[in-house]
Amino acid sequence: MELIEILRGVELFEGLSEEELKKVASLCMKRTFQENQIIARQDSHGEELFIIQEGFVEVAVQTQGGRKVIVNLGNGQTIGEMSLIDQGRRSATVRALSSPTIVQIIEQPDFAQLCESECRIGYIVMQNIAIDLSFRLRQRNINDIIRG
């Protein structure tokens, strides 16, 4: 599948034109991970946005009470988009669950620069980040209700 087609199925880029998707695609680097390989580590400085193209990853946090797996993420999901907004450290450790796990990586500074120079792209991406956060919050709420 062509990269543009893959990006078209990613919510973060919903609403972008073909030309805008091509600009995003020009920043992508494909990387393949094997099962159990760490993709991003909690508390490290996040400089990349990850787009899961194939496979599954596990998102887990280390707390004083121990390690807790928050969720598994599959194709089309993104990791690291929060750092576009807050430039904060990684909030969780992300580990590949399958071999191969194929990820498209965008360097955060390059993506931030694109969002700044192309205001429409920036506006749409920021709006989509907000929608995704809303989705994850609702998912977490339902999870808590169902599982107590």
Binding site: E14, F135, I142, N143
Partner: protein, 66 residues
């Protein structure tokens, strides 16, 4: 092309759940595969209104009996 972004919660807590995109609308009674683990879909609800080509669904599942 409709993309179904689904949140999956496993009712018995045996799995942390998942978020992924599907190319078809899942239905109750169907089996869904999360990284090789099979789960039976008990309930499908709309989590948020559709937006563009995306539909947002929540699935409540239990592990599929072997």
């Amino acid at each position: 092309m409709t993309v179904y972004k689904v949140s999956i919660v496993v009712a018995d807590g045996s799995h942390p759940g998942a978020i992924l995109n599907l190319d078809h609308r899942p239905i109750e009674g169907e089996t869904i595969n999360i990284n090789g683990n099979l789960f039976l879909i008990l309930e499908v609800i709309e989590l948020m209104p559709p937006r563009g080509k995306f539909q947002y669904l929540h699935l409540t599942c239990i592990p599929q009996a072997s």
